[in-house]
């Protein structure tokens, strides 16, 4: 457990970066610090491993004041991941990961064996081991950064905007893997981001800071969305918070409609016959949805077959036991208004339209919770 007790940091130039912060980051959980740029997130994080020393107040790590521990020793027991990974360009990937174990005096062989294991654990191909950081993409480097922080198996991890320098698709991937990893490892994590969506997705609890390093609200993501404590938090959490709150509740017993479908190799004529309101859903050989065919679009140029090129593929697909948000989005994004729902194995289960989903949401809101 990490406990800030009116921790304050005033820089020599007078800037009050963190002002009497009281905060507890419980063991085995992800605590996210979020807030606008310059609100003191990085400063708070670095006070934990003493890269920055608090000017007053204390920070306790498992009831021990960090100020009483030698900084280098303290840091070897705390994993740290920074924005651009900060890998050592002169060391191979495997040796980057093995840095801390080697510093702690483990044998080279043991350290490398552990590093190999971690490499796979963070989802990287073992053949990357002998490469240098410059030979990896940004997302891959970030994974190595996470592996390096984990190498000595520290109970505590500090992460400063670790995923913000990669593109949105990779970021989402890294976030998902990070959550999966954390569910295995159960580290005590303090995670800094300025992206409220990331905070809500990753945090077990989220601390919203305002400029000047003051804590505005500390709450679970669902609580933050449904019950922001003041205008600042409400504005920061964002306008569509009602919609996003739906992302925290899973649907139950979704009333699905059946939907005529055709497979990718059938003829356009067959599709035309099956279509409802001029649309038919096309599945692949394993019954996974591929897209909607609009009869009005006509057959493909090459003849009387269905071509993937003419399918409308814009709609999202939700899982049958997904969140209200995913199901509603499937309905709203479907060109036919009929949201495509799949089973856990990705095979087509049925459709549902937006008004049905909204009715479900309203029914749930009326029921006492």
């Amino acid at each position: 457990m990490i406990r800030f007790e009116s921790a304050t940091k005033q820089y020599p130039d007078g800037t009050l970066a963190v002002d009497a912060l009281d905060l507890v980051a419980p063991s085995g959980q992800i605590t996210v610090l979020v807030g606008p740029s310059g609100c003191g997130k990085t400063t708070s994080l670095r006070m934990i491993n003493r890269m920055i020393d608090a000017t007053s107040g204390r920070i306790l790590l498992d009831d021990q004041d960090v100020a009483s521990v030698d900084p280098a020793r303290l840091r070897r027991g705390i994993g740290y991941v920074i924005q651009h990974a900060g890998l050592f360009p002169h060391r191979t990937i495997i040796d980057n990961i093995a840095s801390v174990p080697l510093m702690l005096g483990r044998s080279k062989k043991e350290a490398r064996a552990g590093a190999m294991e971690l490499l796979e654990r963070v989802g990287l191909d073992p053949r990357f081991a002998q490469r240098y950081p410059a030979q990896l993409s940004g997302g891959q480097q970030q994974r190595v950064g996470v592996a390096r922080a984990l190498a000595a198996d520290p109970p505590v991890m500090l992460m400063d905007e670790p995923f913000s320098a990669v593109d949105p698709v990779v970021r989402e991937q890294l976030q998902d893997e990070f959550l999966r990893l954390q569910s295995d490892l159960g580290k005590t994590i303090v995670f800094v981001t300025h992206d409220i969506d990331e905070a809500i997705k990753l945090g077990d609890q989220v601390a919203v800071l305002r400029v000047g390093g003051r804590l505005a609200q500390m709450a679970t993501p669902a609580e933050l969305l449904s019950n922001p404590v003041d205008d600042f938090v409400a504005n920061f959490v964002g306008r569509d918070r009602g919609y996003r709150a739906l992302g925290f509740e899973s649907v139950t017993a979704l009333p699905l409609e059946s939907e005529p479908t055709v497979s990718l190799d059938s003829s356009f004529t067959a599709a035309e016959k099956a279509a409802v309101d001029g649309w038919v859903l096309v599945l692949d050989g394993e019954r996974r949805p591929q897209g909607w065919l609009a009869v009005a679009d006509g057959p493909s140029a090459t003849g009387d077959t269905i071509s993937t090129a003419t399918l409308r593929r814009g709609g999202t697909v939700a899982e049958r036991d997904g969140t209200y948000r995913a199901v509603l989005d499937a309905a709203l994004s479907s060109p036919t208004g009929r949201g495509v729902i799949v089973g856990p194995d990705g095979t087509f289960a049925g459709t549902i339209n937006a008004s049905r989903v909204v009715a479900l949401i309203e029914a749930r809101a009326e029921a006492p919770r």
Partner: protein, 232 residues
């Protein structure tokens, strides 16, 4: 047609001249090489802490660079002559030239070391600190290895310029390739006699090329990571 002898005064007969005075020339070449290299090594050892300090304490950098830079403006011949009286050595003392050249090497390398350390990306330094590298450990394990390319470039300049400055020391009587120029000058009265002068130039250039090549080679060995081609 006259036979080619080493007594020909054509500049192109430097090779014949070399063959005739081989052992003397080789011994000069050898001393010249040592005099060029050793001051750079000692200079680097002195410049490392100074460069580190002026990087660590930012306010030190401007004065450090100006002062060491000023040293460079002292003409080498003056420094050679001044070192013995300043340090209470006898004139033509064998350490007089290395000391003077070490001063020049330090002057050049302090800035090089500081700039080399500055070339280490900030996030790399932060990451190193964050995972528990203390000051000196970080310097040797992370900063210096990454600064090698910049420092090596400075070493090349220092070494090559030393080769030419050692020759100047030869003209005040120190035993090295510079003697060939003195000799050429002495032998050029009453008629011009070029072979020793040309030989001196050729050997200096060759020496500089070889030393430069060695540093390049050493740098390559120390920086396998730089040859790794970025994947994108």
């Amino acid at each position: 047609m006259t036979s080619m002898t080493s007594t020909s005064s054509s500049p192109w007969h430097f090779f014949g001249y070399f063959l005739d005075h081989r052992s003397q020339d080789l011994s000069w070449l050898w001393t010249h090489a040592w005099l060029s290299v050793v001051p750079v090594i000692i200079g680097l050892l002195i410049a490392l802490p100074l460069g580190w300090l002026s990087r660590r304490y930012g306010w030190l950098y401007p004065p450090m660079v100006s002062i060491t830079g000023l040293l460079y403006t002292i003409p080498s011949i003056a420094l050679f002559v001044l070192v013995p009286p300043l340090l209470g050595l006898s004139s033509l003392n064998p350490v007089q030239v290395p000391i003077a050249l070490t001063v020049y090497s330090v002057a050049l390398l302090v800035r090089v070391v500081a700039d080399g350390l500055a070339s280490v990306p900030d996030e790399v330094n932060q990451a190193a600190t964050a995972i528990g590298y203390g000051g000196v450990r970080r310097l040797f394990a992370v900063e210096l290895p990454i600064a090698v390319p910049v420092i090596a470039a400075g070493l090349r300049v220092a070494t090559v310029s030393n080769v030419s400055m050692v020759a100047i020391a030869g003209t005040i009587g120190m035993s090295n390739l510079g003697q060939l120029f003195q000799l050429g000058k002495d032998l050029s009265t009453p008629t011009a006699y070029y072979p020793p002068i040309v030989l001196g130039i050729v050997l200096c250039v060759l020496l500089a090329l070889v030393l430069d090549g060695l540093i390049i080679l050493l740098t390559r060995v120390l920086t396998p990571w730089r040859r790794a081609v970025p994947s994108r």
